[in-house]
Amino acid sequence: MLDGTARPVLWRRARVDFDPVRHRRVLLYPEGTILLNDTAAEILELCDGVRTVNDIADTLGARYATDVRADVVDYLSRLADRELVHDAGA
């Protein structure tokens, strides 16, 4: 579980790419592929190891004019459980 002050960053050997075959962004890592929806891709784009989870939730909340904090925390925590996202501030 990542809290609001964590500074998430994608694991160095995972990467987000655009797949022109599926017209979707994808998260690629050893032996795994996750097809990303637009929201997930936008969350991951903001994971730079500097912004906090709260910052990311504020940015996307403003973009969509709705509170997305719970979704952002939930999504990043699930990736953290799989060790695909780390807290750069830890």
Partner: protein, 365 residues
């Protein structure tokens, strides 16, 4: 638009290999080097695979490092946007070659280890290999590649499991795959010598659970259960022809790396047909796709879309008909074939035959 898009291609670049592991899942009749696909043919296959939807590439064998065009293929894969994994023994790797592969865009390397101490590890591999593997692990972590340690588990190394796990962590692995032997290819020849005892299997699960907690956040441990001990079969590659493509060294295209043992199917080659046609229309890929081919007990089973009836190769090997339920399933009328093998597992271990080109007479144990 195809209904199922493949995500993963396992490219078996060669069957040549400096190791002689008795659990090898390669077929007993190995492909000779003169029959291997050329660099240009492999590059075409990678491009066709990407166009079909493949995102993950496994470069495997045999030992893929014996191919001098490996760097060329890695660079081509990176250019196509594939995430590539080198599945290797590490024999033949030099510091310079590891650098060239990294520069070419290799993402991930999986190195096989046989045991936690030299004498046993080299006896299992059938050749001196300890120093080369441990040197390679140091280069790989220095270069920053994603690094998986893979250990095939069996009767001769299961008692060292805790030390194997600690060794992988000390080597700097990001991931540790502990795969109990699956009985295909050479492993079928050696089943009596490789089958763990029930006691070994029970102990190993507890050891893995404790280690997974101990190494949480540092090293991810993936434990592949010995399926003979399971109640239900494994969902082989998410279903036949659903996500996974294997191209054998000679260009034959298979739905799983063990499928060539199903002698009732004919597998088309990328030398004769496009990968797209083989994936979408070839009789071999259609044979067990979806659930229309199933008989009872699978046809009416709530788990038919969970495990897809299990492994077709295992059904063929143990029941003689690839359309039968995987006999691992306790609902299978042929489950007694598995139970008979398990009953033998507590008997003293036999000797094994080492993998080699051509069937060897030499046995060691």
């Amino acid at each position: 638009m195809p209904e199922h898009r493949p995500t993963t291609l396992l490219a078996e670049l060669t069957h040549r290999c400096p190791l002689h592991c008795p659990y090898c899942s390669n077929p007993v009749e190995l492909v000779r080097s003169r029959a291997e696909l050329s660099t240009e043919e492999w590059m075409r296959v990678l491009g066709e695979a990407r166009a079909l939807g493949v995102l993950q590439l496994g470069l495997s064998g045999g030992e893929p490092l014996v191919r001098r065009d490996l760097e060329t293929l890695v660079a081509h894969a990176r250019g196509l946007g594939l995430y590539s994994t080198l599945v290797t023994s590490a024999l033949g790797l030099t510091r310079e070659r590891a650098e060239r592969l990294t520069e070419a865009g290799l993402d991930h390397i999986q190195i096989s280890f046989q045991d936690a101490e030299r004498e046993s590890a080299e006896r299992i591999a059938g050749t001196a290999s300890w120093d080369a593997k441990h040197r390679a692990a140091a280069w790989v972590t220095e270069l920053g590649l994603a690094f998986t340690v893979n250990v095939v588990l069996h009767r001769a190394n299961l008692d060292h499991l805790e030390r194997i796990i600690d060794m992988a962590a000390a080597l700097g692995a990001d991931r540790l795959e502990l795969a109990n032997t699956q009985y295909y290819g050479w492993a079928v020849e050696n089943r009596d010598a490789l089958m763990p005892t029930r006691e070994q299997v029970e102990r190993s699960e507890a050891i893995v659970d404790r280690a997974a907690a101990r190494y949480q956040g540092r090293m991810r441990i993936i434990y592949v259960l010995p399926d003979y001990y399971s109640e239900f079969p494994k969902p082989c590659q998410g279903g036949w022809g659903a996500h996974y493509i294997v191209v054998a060294p000679d260009g034959r295209v298979l739905p799983c790396h063990a499928a060539s043992q199903i002698t009732t199917l004919a597998f088309d080659s990328v030398r004769d047909r496009s990968l797209e046609w083989i994936w979408e229309a070839s009789p071999a890929f259609q044979a067990f796709r979806g659930d229309g081919w199933m008989r009872d007990p699978c046809r009416s089973c709530a788990r038919r879309l969970v495990d897809f009836g299990g492994c077709r190769c295992q059904a063929f090997a143990l029941t003689g008909d690839a359309a039968n339920t995987d006999p691992v399933c306790t609902l299978s009328p042929q489950r007694r074939a598995i139970d008979a093998l398990l009953d033998r597992s507590d008997a003293p271990s036999g000797e094994w035959v080492y993998r080699s080109m051509g069937r060897p007479a030499a046995r060691a144990g």
